[in-house]
Symmetry: C2
Subunit: 201 residues, 2 copies
């Protein structure tokens, strides 16, 4: 397997974390960040399935879309539940976290207009983030999100929380904070996070 992305965590890190937890070897191919050198990406772009990265190449077949890649490796290595209902409960959390992740990036990274950025940042911190954490908190009955054991949903939640500009919102979501702490302390996750390339995003 070859996972191609930029030299960033961002949209490829969920799959990298799942592969780390699963103890799988793969080629971690990294193009320069677009703001450092756009040329390699411009050359590769027409040959990707949807003109976007990450792409996972599995025996010559290319899988696109960050959450699809993450789900594929999670299923392949036993981190996506033991039946369709468990898988769906994980997918629902992953979708909710992904929606919030897009709003975080839009507010903190992509928006260039200062007034609009302030508005989006305020909405993220006062509405999007607390609502998401409250909704996950109310569904949490166990040490992990679904099925009583670690899954890719826990890893996605962990990654989202660790990428937040501030961890303050976790104070009102102690059970979510517990899940994040448990994932952070998994030996394979800990080792990957300590040794992975250091990047801005």
């Amino acid at each position: 397997m070859k996972l191609t992305y930029f030299n960033l965590r961002a949209r490829a890190e969920p799959a990298r974390l799942i592969l780390a937890q699963a103890g799988q070897d793969y080629e971690d191919a990294r193009l320069p960040a677009p703001w450092d050198d756009m040329a390699p990406w411009q050359e590769l772009k027409p040959n990707t399935p949807f003109g976007q990265l990450p792409v996972l190449n599995v025996n010559g077949v290319e899988i696109a879309q960050s959450m699809t890649v993450a789900r594929y490796v999670a299923r392949e290595f036993g981190l996506a539940g033991t039946n369709n209902l468990e898988s769906a409960l994980m997918d629902a959390i992953v979708d909710a976290v992904s929606e919030a992740t897009e709003k975080m990036y839009n507010a903190y990274v992509f928006e260039k207009d200062e007034a609009k950025k302030a508005e989006l940042t305020k909405k993220f911190n006062e509405d999007v983030l607390p609502s998401l954490l409250k909704n996950i908190e109310k569904g949490l009955k166990d040490d992990y999100l679904v099925g009583g054991t670690v899954s890719w949903a826990d890893i996605i939640l962990y990654h989202f929380v660790k990428e937040l500009p501030s961890q303050d919102a976790l104070k009102d979501a102690p059970k979510v904070a517990g899940v994040v702490e448990r994932v952070a302390n998994l030996p394979n996750i800990k080792k990957w996070v300590e040794t992975r390339p250091q990047t801005k995003l």
Copy 2:
């Protein structure tokens, strides 16, 4: 199974179409459209997993998020591929179509500022839509998108295309147009589309 949404196609129609194709009975529970009467939704909202609809209730367990619900019913009724790789190739197309769907709704339905609406509409018609169709077209080798038989990815693509304000872009994507035509002519799909509630969206 009980599928709860507004009396709209929009985000619940993919799951309804999949359930129609699979020939499954379910309760198609419909709240008034938010612009007709917000009260029933305001009452239900705090009791949904993420404060959003649709929600699918399966034997008392609530599954949230439109594409998670669609994937769940597709897997349950044999429309989500025969192995993890096929499922992932479907997921990737579904994710790409979903991204374009969000942009279509943002441009045509949600944006209220006229100048911004014109900008988003132009971007959708001149960039987002033709790029998506071109990328799906280049990967299409068969009568259906993945695995040589109809899957939920074909149904999602069909629904997206039929909701477009114009079908003009299909002229440059004859293989995509063929998939859409084949899905439209499936007897179960045809029957559902002819008999479903008529709504604005």
